[in-house]
Symmetry: C2
């Protein structure tokens, strides 16, 4: 039998297993068994902790967003210069590549949000928080005289987050000529116009990209996370 775990521990594990399973099979296409396998358990055990699967999925999405947001906050926490802070923030909002797990999950949600109110709210809330984050950076920069905002800070912040989101989708969809670097460049073009600041990317800023050395999911080895396990009906 698989190592027994306390209720709380197991729930945390399950949330992460669900997160991984959804990334592979789609937010709406995941099956209970896939989540169970990812957690190294049987479907019965999963049901024991989450009698209603939807609750688990929602918690998993919630956790994914929280993780995504916290990572961004953490990454800019030590930066004082508003310009560097802005640049770093922009990069941290984009996927590292087409297989970036965090952003993949968020993209999964986009479509479902139109049909599922909970998901819509979740996504909307994240958007608003990100806008607030940018707005703060912009306001501080303006207060320090570093930025000369070309408009309302909220308006600029909203557009910044919107651009991030959209390029995230492009990168995930494997656009041939838009990768993380190109996306940063495009968003920076807008940021320069909006702040009146040259926003030069320092080599250091690029290093910051290192999100997590390797997702390294604890579950049993399945097919690669990339393309092979792809056949995906629909």
């Amino acid at each position: 039998m698989t190592q027994r775990k306390s209720r709380a521990d197991r729930r945390v594990e399950l949330i992460d297993a669900a997160r991984r399973a959804m990334i592979q099979h789609g937010a709406e296409g995941v099956h209970l068994n896939q989540i169970a396998e990812e957690a190294g358990l049987t479907s019965g055990a999963v049901l024991y902790h989450y009698p209603d699967l939807r609750d688990l999925l929602i918690e998993a999405h919630h956790a994914g967003m929280e993780r995504f947001y916290e990572q961004r906050v953490k990454k800019i926490s030590g930066i004082a210069d508003p310009a560097q802070k802005l640049i770093t923030t922009i990069r941290s909002g984009l996927p590292e590549g087409p297989d970036d797990a965090g952003v993949r999950l968020l993209c999964e949600l986009g479509g479902a949000a139109g049909r599922n109110r909970v998901y819509g709210t979740l996504l909307t809330t994240l958007y608003d928080r990100q806008v607030a984050m940018y707005q703060t950076i912009l306001e501080i920069g303006a207060a320090q005289g570093v930025f000369k905002l070309a408009g309302d800070s909220e308006q600029i912040a909203r557009n910044l987050v919107a651009l991030e989101d959209a390029y995230g989708y492009r990168i995930i969809a494997r656009h041939h000529s838009i990768g993380p670097d190109e996306a940063v460049g495009l968003i920076l073009d807008f940021a320069r116009m909006s702040t009146g600041h040259p926003l030069k990317e320092t080599p250091a800023a690029r290093q910051k990209t290192t999100r997590t050395p390797r997702p390294r999911n604890g579950g049993p080895a399945r097919g690669a996370t990339t393309t092979p396990p792809q056949q995906d009906a629909s």
Copy 2:
């Protein structure tokens, strides 16, 4: 027995039925029976025309994009003034509201594009076409001296489409304070900076919003297209 149709006619009908079914149940969550019902047929008949469901779904997505793109082109076809053309184009790229069928379908695809190469390509191609469309408008405007572009036309065009896309998602997700009008406003803020043109929205431009009087799907009456038929597991 349901009215017999020629092979070609039936295929067109099925593509549309699939489109409608996907909007209601998700691009990946649709079931054969739902498509059949939407078309007023039995599952067997659907399989007769499309032995592999995936082909039908891909064709349906393709058709949806084509329709979306053609509508946009058509809407700006008669407009001579670059500024009005730009404004109209921006509005035509946004959903009319959270239930806009065309955009809903596109949003559905966003998540799947990460797992399905065909969908990724489809979406990427649409993006590129839209960029080209904007680029043409920008270039013509610049050539006529109406616009003073603040950067490369492709860069501006890419950001315009990106903003459209992102706000489309926000509107579909029912953001409390971002509707079509607000989104147009935000995108126009960026467009003004990029073109150096005031881009005043004329009342006429707002009228153009009328996409199709009513989607009026030919199928049997199901639950309302809005929220009621929503329970949607995941």
